[in-house]
C-alpha cells in the first residue's frame, strides 16, 4: 500500500502543470484558495490519483481537505 510520501509525490506531479505560475508547491499549499483550482479541477486531480493508485476516493473526505498535506494524509488513511 502506498504511503504518505508516495501520495504526496504523485499529487505534486499532477499539480505542477495546473498550478498558477510563480506559486511554489509545498505541503501547505491550499488547493482552492492558493492554487486556485476550480471544483472541476479538484475532481480531475482526484480522478488522476484514483487511476494511478487503482483506488476509489469517496467524496466524503473532501470537506476535510484544504491543503496538499490534508489530501495526502486522507489518502494514506483510506489505503491503510
Amino acid at each position: 500500500m502506498p504511503d504518505y510520501n508516495e501520495f504526496l509525490a504523485r499529487i505534486f506531479e499532477i499539480l505542477k502543470p495546473v498550478a498558477k505560475q510563480g506559486i511554489i508547491l509545498n505541503e501547505e499549499s491550499e488547493l482552492v484558495t492558493e492554487l486556485c483550482l476550480t471544483s472541476l479541477q479538484v475532481m480531475e486531480l482526484i480522478e488522476q490519483i484514483e487511476d494511478h493508485f487503482d483506488m476509489s476516493i469517496p467524496l466524503n473526505i473532501l470537506p476535510d481537505i484544504r491543503t496538499v498535506h490534508d489530501l495526502a494524509l486522507q489518502l494514506e488513511k483510506l489505503s491503510s
Binding site: M43, D54, P58, L59, N60
Partner: protein, 394 residues
C-alpha cells in the same frame, strides 16, 4: 466577516449582468399564450427552454380533470402523505404508475427533487456505498450527501470506469447502490444502460435510474432508457418526475422490491412535506393515460428534436453529442453566452442559459429543448434566431 460574505461571487455576477441590463436567471413569464409561446420579459417568444416535452400543459382533458379535482377535493391537501394527506387519488396514481411500469410498488412524491433526493438519502446509509455518475443532477448529489454512505463517483457515462470502481469495492458490493440517469438534463445524452446493467450483473449491487428526462420519450411504451435498452429487469428502482412530460409537478419511485413499502416510511422528503394538491394528481393521472394513448406525441417530439439538432448543426454551432429533445449549444465564453441568450430572446426564442457550475464543464451552454407541440415552422424560427445571432456576432 459576515454570513453573507460567501455569497459575494453571486453578488458580483448579478451586478455584472445588471450593468449589461440582462437578468437571465430572473426572467419573468408574464403571459403564457400556448404550450409553446409566451411573453417573457416583455418579448413574445417561442418557448425552447422548458421541459414540456409532450406539450400537455394546456391539454383540455388535463385541465378539466384538474378543475374537477379542485371542486371535489379543494385546493390543497394541507398535510403529509403519512398523516391527513393521502387521498384516494394519490393511491390511484400510485397504482397506475406501478401498472404502467409493470412493477409491483410505487410511491408518489410532492416534487421530482423530493423523489430523487429522498431515495438517494434513504436507500443507503452509514457504512453503505453509493456509486454515482459524475454528472448526476443536484437533487441526487444533495440526497446522497445526506445519506451518510460513502459516495464514489464514476466518470460520466463510462461503464468501464464503473466496472473498476465496483471491482475495487470487493465484499462491500452487497450493500452498494448505483445511481445513474436515463437522459442527462444539460447535454441530453443518454446513459449506456445496457453496458451499465452488464457491469451490475457482473458484480452485484442495486441500480437506481432517474428517468426524469426520458419518461415518454424512449422505449416501446415510453418508459425510458431502461426500456429502450431492454434492461428493465436489472433496474431495481426507477425514479422520475411529473413536471416534464406529464406537465404538472411531483415525482415517483417504482420498484419490484416489496421493501419499498417499508422504505416509504423512512423517506424524510416524503414524510415531512405536504402531499401533492388534488388538481396536480388529477392532471397527472390524465397525462399519464394520454401519454400511453397518443404514441404520436413521442413521434412528433423526435421529429422536432431531429429538425432542431440538424438545423443548429448546419449553422456550424457546437451542439451536444447526441440527438435528443434536449439540445445544448456550447458557448465557451460566459459573457458571449449571456449576450447570445439575450439576443435570442429579442429575436423571439427563449432558451436556457447555463453557466458553470451548473454546466458539466467550464463552458457555458445555451440549452434548448423541444416539445411535441412545436410546429416545424416554430423549430425553423428557433434555428433562424440562432442564425441571425451568429451572423451578427461575426
Amino acid at each position: 466577516m459576515s454570513l453573507f460574505d460567501k455569497f459575494q461571487p453571486i453578488v458580483d455576477i448579478r451586478s455584472d449582468l445588471q450593468a449589461l441590463g440582462i437578468m437571465p436567471f430572473g426572467a419573468v413569464t408574464e403571459k403564457i399564450l400556448s404550450s409553446t409561446e409566451a411573453i417573457v420579459n416583455g418579448h413574445q417568444v417561442i418557448l425552447a427552454g422548458t421541459n414540456n416535452y409532450l406539450g400537455l400543459t394546456f391539454d383540455p382533458e388535463c385541465i378539466a380533470a384538474a378543475k374537477q379535482a379542485i371542486e371535489d377535493f379543494g385546493t390543497g391537501t394541507t398535510g403529509s402523505r403519512m398523516a391527513n394527506g393521502t387521498f384516494a387519488d394519490h393511491i390511484r396514481l400510485e397504482q397506475e404508475l406501478a401498472s404502467y411500469f409493470e412493477r409491483k410498488y410505487a410511491i408518489v412524491f410532492s416534487t421530482g427533487y423530493a423523489a430523487t433526493m429522498g431515495m438517494g438519502s434513504t436507500l443507503a446509509g452509514p457504512g453503505d456505498v453509493i456509486v454515482l455518475d459524475a454528472d448526476s443532477h443536484a437533487s441526487i448529489y444533495d440526497g446522497v450527501r445526506l445519506s451518510g454512505a460513502d459516495i464514489i463517483r464514476f466518470r460520466h457515462n463510462d461503464a468501464a470506469d464503473l466496472d473498476k470502481r465496483l471491482r475495487r469495492l470487493g465484499d462491500r458490493i452487497s450493500n452498494t447502490l448505483i445511481i445513474v440517469e436515463g437522459i442527462y438534463s444539460m447535454m441530453g445524452d443518454q446513459a449506456p444502460l445496457a453496458d451499465i446493467a452488464e457491469v451490475k450483473r457482473k458484480y452485484g449491487g442495486m441500480l437506481l435510474v432517474d428517468e426524469a428526462h426520458s419518461l415518454g420519450m424512449l422505449g416501446e411504451h415510453g418508459r425510458g432508457v431502461a426500456e429502450a435498452a431492454g434492461v428493465e429487469d436489472d433496474v431495481d428502482f426507477v425514479v422520475g418526475t411529473f413536471s416534464k412530460s406529464l406537465s404538472a409537478i411531483g415525482g415517483y419511485c417504482v420498484s419490484n422490491h416489496a421493501e419499498l413499502e417499508a422504505v416509504r416510511f423512512a423517506i424524510r422528503s416524503y414524510i415531512f412535506t405536504a402531499s401533492p394538491s388534488p388538481s396536480v394528481i388529477a392532471s397527472t393521472r390524465v397525462a399519464l393515460r394520454l401519454m400511453q394513448e397518443r404514441p404520436e406525441l413521442r413521434e412528433r417530439l423526435w421529429e422536432n428534436a431531429h429538425r432542431l439538432y440538424d438545423g443548429l448543426q448546419q449553422l456550424g454551432l457546437q451542439v451536444s453529442p447526441q440527438v435528443s429533445p434536449v439540445i445544448a449549444v456550447t458557448i465557451k465564453e460566459r459573457n458571449q453566452a449571456i449576450d447570445w441568450w439575450n439576443q435570442l430572446m429579442q429575436r423571439g426564442a427563449y432558451v436556457n442559459l447555463v453557466m458553470p457550475p451548473a454546466s458539466p464543464t467550464d463552458d457555458s451552454l445555451l440549452r434548448c429543448s423541444v416539445s411535441a407541440a412545436h410546429s416545424p415552422e416554430q423549430i425553423d424560427r428557433i434555428v433562424e434566431a440562432f442564425a441571425a445571432v451568429k451572423n451578427s456576432s461575426n
